[in-house]
Structure formats: C-alpha cells, structure tokens
C-alpha cells in the first residue's frame, strides 16, 4: 500500500468516524432534552426528601408516554405507549394500602420502559436516518 492510498483510507475513516460521532451526539442530545429534562423533578424530589414517591414516576411516565405517542411512527410503538399510559394512569390512582397496592411499587420500571422505547426509536431517526433535532427543523430547506 502506497503512502497516498494509506492517506486516502485514513481520511475516509476519519470522515466516517466524524459523521457517526456527530450523529451519535445528536441522538444523546435529543435524549437529554426529551427524556432527561422532563425527568428532572425526580432528581429534585430525591435531593429534597431523600426518596422519590411512586406517584412522581407515574405522573412523569404518563406525560412522557402521551407526548411520545404523538410522534411515534410505528403502530406497535403507539400501542405500547397507549398501554403504558393506561397502566400508569390506573396505578397512579390505586391506593398503596389496597389489596393490589403491591402493583404501585413499579413506577421506576415503567418509566424505564417509556425511556427505552423512545430512546431506541430516536436512535433510528438521528443516527441512521440523520434527521435533525429539534424535530421542528425537519421541513426547513437549510
């Protein structure tokens, strides 16, 4: 392999890496804003009181799954978001002292489910399809 061929390959590799790097950070940035930021109340509650009430998880999960439902493009995802919306809504009103009270201890797991679904959905959008973020920029010609 000659010097110029080697240099071309290294340049090509660098371009590929840099492009993937940018897209990966675009994805992480989007996650930070659409998953991390709405979850800030959980951190605040933990800092303030030393623990997080299950209600907080349920309410944030309801808000997030409702919001993501509007942007979901695959019917399976829409179905799961609706399922999460209903389950979180129901669990939020179940008294912890009732016979089904043990159900209300899974708020964190349900929030993780919502975040996982949306995170992987956005991976396809930003890393593979190279869609811009914020999503409102998608029809700009620039």
């Amino acid at each position: 392999m000659g010097w110029s061929e080697f240099r071309t390959k290294v340049t090509h590799l660098w371009i590929l890496m840099r492009k993937a790097w940018d897209r990966l950070f675009k994805w992480l940035f989007s996650l930070l804003l659409v998953v991390g930021l709405p979850s800030v109340p959980i951190a605040l509650e933990y800092v303030r009181t030393g623990h997080v009430q299950q209600d907080t998880y349920f309410v944030i999960s309801i808000i997030l799954s409702g919001t993501y439902l509007c942007g979901a493009e695959v019917y399976f995802y829409k179905f799961v978001y609706i399922l999460l919306l209903i389950i979180n809504g129901l669990l939020d009103v179940v008294p912890q002292s009732s016979s089904t009270g043990e159900l209300t201890h899974h708020g964190g797991a349900l929030l993780i489910a919502v975040a996982l679904l949306h995170g992987t959905e956005r991976f396809g959008w930003h890393v593979v399809q190279d869609r811009p973020f914020p999503d409102s920029l998608r029809n700009n010609n620039g």
Binding site: T100, L103, L116, T120, G124, W125, V128, Q129, R138
Partner: protein
C-alpha cells in the same frame, strides 16, 4: 390472581425491552444497508456520467432539491442489487417524513455512508 396482576408492570417492561432491542438491531442493519448501497452507487458511477457528476457536486456543495430527486431516481435503479431486507431499510430512510433528513441521507449515500 393478585400475584398475576403484580407481574403486569414487569411484563410491560419486558415487552418494551424486547421491542427496543429489536429496533436497535434494525437500526444497525439500516446502517449496514446504507453502507452497502453507497458501494453500489460508487460502482455504478463508474459507468454512469450523470451519477458521477452529481457525486462530484455533492462532495463540494450542497445538493439542490432537484438534484436530490435525480439521485433518488438513480438510487431506485441500483436498489435492486441489494437484498429485500436492505431495500426495505433504505426505503425507510428515503421516504422519511423529514425533508432535511432525506437530503442528508441522500448526500451521505453519495459521499461516504
């Protein structure tokens, strides 16, 4: 019955985890399909002057909407060389609702996928 109900949140978490893993896998296959199509386009550009000209322009300037459409037509010709699965994944990228995304996707197919 009570213990069965208590499994509902964990069952939903399991469904979400499996769906997420599948989606992630599909995304990685999408990246591979993109890379394969890029190589097919480069191979075709050796015998197609129009495509070679567009690739040259894409390397130095932003493509116009008309050029993006031209590239899409050229890609349709090359797509048949890929497997059905790869074709489907590339179609998803080409027919995405984001116009900016489509333009970037097409430009990347020409320059370096």
């Amino acid at each position: 019955m009570g213990s069965l109900f208590s499994q509902i949140p964990l069952a939903v978490l399991s469904i979400a985890t499996i769906a997420s893993a599948y989606r992630l896998w599909e995304s990685l296959l999408g990246l591979r399909a993109k890379s394969r199509l890029h190589h097919e386009i480069i191979a075709r550009a050796k015998i197609d002057d129009v495509l070679r000209d567009i690739i040259e322009r894409a390397n130095h300037a932003e493509l116009t909407a008309l050029e993006v459409e031209m590239v899409r037509e050229e890609i349709e010709k090359v797509l048949s060389n890929l497997s059905e699965k790869d074709q489907k994944l590339v179609e998803e990228g080409l027919s995405q609702p984001s116009r900016v995304g489509t333009k970037k996707y097409v430009t990347e197919l020409l320059t370096a996928a």
